[in-house]
């Protein structure tokens, strides 16, 4: 039963006290004192009792106040709250199906991709090592969402959440889509958001597959062959319908994107060429899922390539892109920030 009465503890013992209650992800937390939480609520631009959505499987009510408590614990700055709130709205969307995927035995993790002016305002990195260490916004917004799934959604490890191994991404995956270094418009713009509008998109990813390509004379044909070969890797994944049913994400590093763009290839061309090389056929699984119009295998054949999400982000030092398989039947959810 949730308590509205503040709990007495101390700066020194707050981590232990909250850990023992099952309220943390195992890492130290920032104690969610009323003044810190209030600052977070104020920065959201919404009243504390405003409901952002209901988080499965518990279907706990995600008020701005409860989200703020978790954001403080994760180490967020108040300025991150608009992104955290938008991320919560995205994963609370019924189409994201948290009720269903929270107990999933696969290593699913929500990945939050942000675009628009908010990314620069809060210092959300789209550069080197964007999944991991270094940038506070990347690390703590993703972690806040993990705590929200735990504390509001009730997806406690072992008791409810049943992923066999989990994933390092479960600690948090949040980054900015590169706009300055990308030759193309962002994924959110492709989904219809307006120029100058900040937005988040949630993807239910199951892992990362590294793609490395560098030769002396780079060309798009060799690069697309290399990417296709890496994408075929998960045909060996015993539950390969994840690839077919979800919308796997191709995350291009800026150099790879420029190799394509320099020869006149756009996202549409990349998708068409990938579909010539990768057979996105259903391996097995429920027909209703793999035939859904949100899947790479559903609907009219000529409409399928356009669904493949292609993002650009990452450091400019290397020739490394990443392929991210996603969960069957869970489409990306984009939400704009007010």
């Amino acid at each position: 039963m949730t308590s509205e009465k503040p709990l007495a503890t101390s700066q020194e013992s707050a981590y232990e006290d909250l850990y023992r209650r099952g309220w943390t992800d195992g890492l130290p937390i920032v104690p969610p004192t009323p003044d810190r939480v209030q600052a977070m609520i104020a920065a959201s631009g919404r009243p504390g009792d405003h409901t952002l959505g209901f988080i499965g499987p518990r279907r706990g009510r995600a008020t701005v106040q409860k989200v703020a408590v978790n954001a403080v614990m994760a180490g967020c700055l108040p300025g991150y709250m608009p992104v955290v709130c938008a991320a919560v709205s995205a994963v609370a969307d019924p189409n994201f199906q948290l009720d269903r995927i929270a107990p999933w035995t696969a290593p699913y993790a929500p990945m939050i991709v942000v675009s628009g002016p908010m990314t620069e305002k809060i210092g959300l990195s789209s550069g080197h090592d964007l999944f991991a260490s270094g940038a506070r916004a990347n690390a703590t917004i993703g972690r806040a969402l993990r705590l929200i799934l735990l504390n509001i959604g009730g997806a406690s490890p072992s008791a409810v959440s049943k992923s066999a191994h989990g994933s390092p991404g479960r600690q948090g995956m949040c980054f900015a889509e590169s706009e300055g270094a990308s030759p193309w418009e962002t994924y959110a713009r492709e989904q219809g958001t307006a120029a100058g509008q900040s937005a988040v998109t949630a993807f239910a990813v199951t892992g990362t597959v590294p793609i490395f390509y560098r030769v002396i004379k780079v060309n798009p044909e060799d690069l697309i062959n290399n990417i296709a070969a890496c994408m075929k890797y998960i045909e060996g994944y015993a539950t390969a319908y994840h690839q077919d049913g979800g919308l796997p994400v191709l995350l291009l590093c800026p150099i790879h994107a420029k190799i394509f763009a320099g020869r006149g290839w756009d996202k549409h061309r990349i998708r068409e060429e990938l579909f010539k090389r990768v057979d996105f056929k259903p391996v097995y699984g429920a027909e209703s899922r793999i035939n859904a119009p949100t899947c790479l295998t559903g609907g009219k054949a000529d409409e399928r390539p356009a669904r493949l999400p292609i993002l650009v982000a990452g450091g400019i030092a290397g020739y490394h892109s990443t392929f991210l398989p996603t969960i069957v039947g869970v489409p990306p959810i984009t939400k704009v920030m007010p």
Binding site: A14, R59, P103, W104, T105, K162
Partner: protein
């Protein structure tokens, strides 16, 4: 140490609590079994045999669940089933998908006034109970079996069915 105060990060679920269908003596009634996976057929066949021997039942109906396929002929078959049975055993909740859907189908039956017991493996009892609570049916009756159920040999399944029989009958016949 200086005392500080911190706020609770958790949130309760909807909090609704619907009453289960009234239980009744099974004697002479027509029941049904929602099927899922081969070992569950073995399990329920054993339960069915004892039920028929001890309660003089009408022939028991069987139906597939509506997991992921809640439409067309499968949905029609399910609806026919729910209109014909007076109690039901539903299962098997043994994975991330079948556990919530076992509960969803059990709730639909309870809403129609049909006493129902869900069979769920211990690994997925947590999500089954969380789903039931989120749907407003925290008192939904469940009988828990070991996981991984589908890896059990046939004689172990039969032994388990015998051990579960009284719990299943009580869940269907006693408030």
């Amino acid at each position: 140490m200086i005392t500080i105060h911190v706020l609770d990060p958790t949130s309760d679920g909807p909090g609704a609590s619907h009453a289960l269908a009234a239980r009744r003596d099974l004697r002479g009634t027509r029941g049904g079994i929602r099927r899922q996976w081969p070992n569950f057929d073995t399990f329920t066949a054993r339960i069915e045999r004892r039920l028929m021997q001890e309660h003089e039942l009408q022939p028991i109906l069987r139906v597939g669940g509506t997991f992921t396929e809640r439409r067309d002929a499968k949905l029609e078959e399910w609806r026919t089933f729910t209109s014909q049975v007076q109690w039901a055993i539903v299962g098997l909740g043994a994975c991330w998908g079948t556990s919530p859907w076992t509960v969803y189908d059990a709730i639909e039956l309870e809403e129609k006034g049909i006493p129902t017991v869900s069979i769920v493996t211990d690994e997925f009892a947590g999500i089954a109970k969380a789903t039931a609570a989120a749907e407003g049916w925290p008192a939904l009756k469940m009988v828990i079996v070991p996981h991984p159920f589908e890896e059990l040999k046939e004689d172990a399944v039969v032994t388990l069915a015998d051990a579960s029989y009284v719990k299943i009958v009580d869940a269907l016949a006693k408030d």
